[in-house]
Subunit: 327 residues, 2 copies
């Protein structure tokens, strides 16, 4: 099934079930008001939503209405955890190579992850509000999963069983704030503003055999100012699958229902596939020409992130945002 | 008023109002079930809780019962944000000095903060479960505030107005995991397991003139295995006040209701006041003797963290935890 959260003026919005083709939707009223509620009590509530989803897909849901991604908040408008990996090692290799550094051997066995802010996500069509263009505004196109409860010490294969939903993310980064911030030694903080997520989050069965062993084998499309800049394969080059990322968190703590875990920027060794963040393009330029040519995003720029199934249909709906100055 | 969350088998527990002297409590039923609900709608719900608090303090609340800190979850058993500072620069100076490094000048004007996991806090009397003693188990005694909504770009003085509640924290750290983790460049992750908070969270009026300009001018007591190891002054040496810490988050994003912001380990220049984390004791030993003498915590060790008002009464109740192996 496919789930979305409609804006209704409240902090957590209103849960809706969306048809497979993203044309119609139905309020989940009577089953659950919010997605977090469903994640808190998945085994009881998910089957009821599934029944509604079947009715909706067969055109039999009585109060269905046209689905509008512009009315969506993030599927979880706020969450108890947003832990983002950097699971495509090619991205890390490019960043390091551009500054003449090696990738430590441990990076191929021990995932890189950072803890992100999760109190104020933005919807798929909301503007990305940044105080200054000088911050170096960049998009990052990613895959993200939403988990149930996964206990401390869980192995990667056990952790895979804790995945409830999959969605896309735009993990906005403020590149020019990163060097000074990382130099302080405590990781990203101001350099990671509010993250956006796709209109819908979907259960694994919606992905068919494109979901294999904790990886999503489809193409992630990134379109910057109307120009397709990335057609990146999300599956084969994901060094750590989602079970490994979740198990990394579980080494020292429990992961609780509604945690969101991100893949990091999707990245391919074949440069012809383009890029899922501008920083990577700039790294390639630096490696080839000695310096970056491409600038970061400016006010009014747009970024569209989408993934299509093998049938050519959009799976999650599109993230489609404009960069904006504060009001 | 003083607020706590009683265990009831649910994820968010049951909100209770606690008397000023911590002897009696009353369910907030009819006003709000959970603390997050109150934070989401503070101006409407807080006055109702305040009325109940007055009744309780005057012994007039009809269904009052004896308050038991052992029945408490963290005041917010899970939260949408846990951002922890390192606002006592003396702590940073000691850590750097012990390894022969200087504190960068920028550290005195730009707060150090890290984003912590907030999906699974532990209660004030819950065991600290750690998979291995070899991780280097340490307590960190801190002050923490809970915020309302604070908008992006808020100045420190504006951010102070967003503080709703104050509590104590034990920001457990796994010291032996930190060097490798920070060397990866993305900040703390596995080295920060679940954080514990004091039995009650209190509004600023409960602190009287001990709360001044975003700092709490009282003594934070840490007792390790029954021996008082820290009697640290939390006020004068807090380099950045809580308004500055919140404003640091707000530079690039909104802070939403229910965010928890921590002070970092309370630390004093006068070594006679003891320590609020073992790492600091080890730094002092290294500076004096060339190497640390004191080991980290072992299974069965206890840590008690408490703060008393000028009247000698416990303000927040005590965090009192035992270190434990997984079941």
């Amino acid at each position: 099934m496919k789930l979305a959260t409609y804006k209704d003026g409240s902090r957590d919005g209103q849960l809706v079930v969306v048809s497979r083709d993203l044309t119609t939707a139905h309020y989940a009223t009577g089953i659950a008001d919010t997605l977090q509620q469903v994640l808190d009590d998945w085994s009881f509530l998910a089957p009821q939503l599934q029944d509604l989803s079947v009715e909706l897909n067969h055109g039999r849901a009585r109060h269905a209405f046209a689905f509008d991604a512009a009315r969506c908040m993030a599927p979880l408008p706020r969450a108890y955890q947003w832990a983002d990996g950097s699971a495509y090692l090619n991205h890390v290799e490019l960043v390091r190579k551009a500054r003449g550094a090696e990738v430590p051997a441990s990076f191929y066995t021990d995932p890189l992850m950072y803890q992100g802010g999760s109190d104020d996500f933005i919807g798929p069509r909301d503007p990305v509000v940044v105080a200054s263009e000088a911050f170096g505004i960049d998009f990052e196109a990613e895959i993200a999963v939403v988990t149930g409860d996964v206990r401390m010490g869980a192995a990667p294969e056990q952790a895979l069983d804790g995945i409830r939903l999959v969605m896309l993310a735009n993990d906005v980064s403020l590149r020019n704030l990163i060097p000074d911030e990382l130099a302080k030694g405590f990781g990203f903080f101001q350099s990671k503003p509010a993250t956006a997520f796709s209109p819908v989050a979907v259960t694994l069965d919606e992905l068919g055999d494109a979901w294999q062993g904790g990886r999503l084998h489809l193409t992630l499309q990134s379109t910057w100012n109307g120009r397709k800049v990335g057609m990146c394969e999300a599956g084969p080059e994901m060094t750590f699958h989602f079970g490994q990322l979740i198990a990394h968190i579980c080494k020292t703590r429990n992961v609780r229902a509604g945690s969101i875990v991100g893949s990091g920027t999707v990245s391919n060794k074949d440069w012809a596939r383009g890029y899922s963040c501008i920083a990577e393009k700039r790294c390639i330029e630096t490696i080839v020409d000695g310096k970056p040519q491409t600038g970061f995003m400016q006010y009014g720029d747009t970024i569209r992130i989408e993934m299509k199934g093998r049938d050519g249909q959009s799976i999650f709906g599109a993230i489609d945002q404009e960069i904006a100055a504060p009001a």
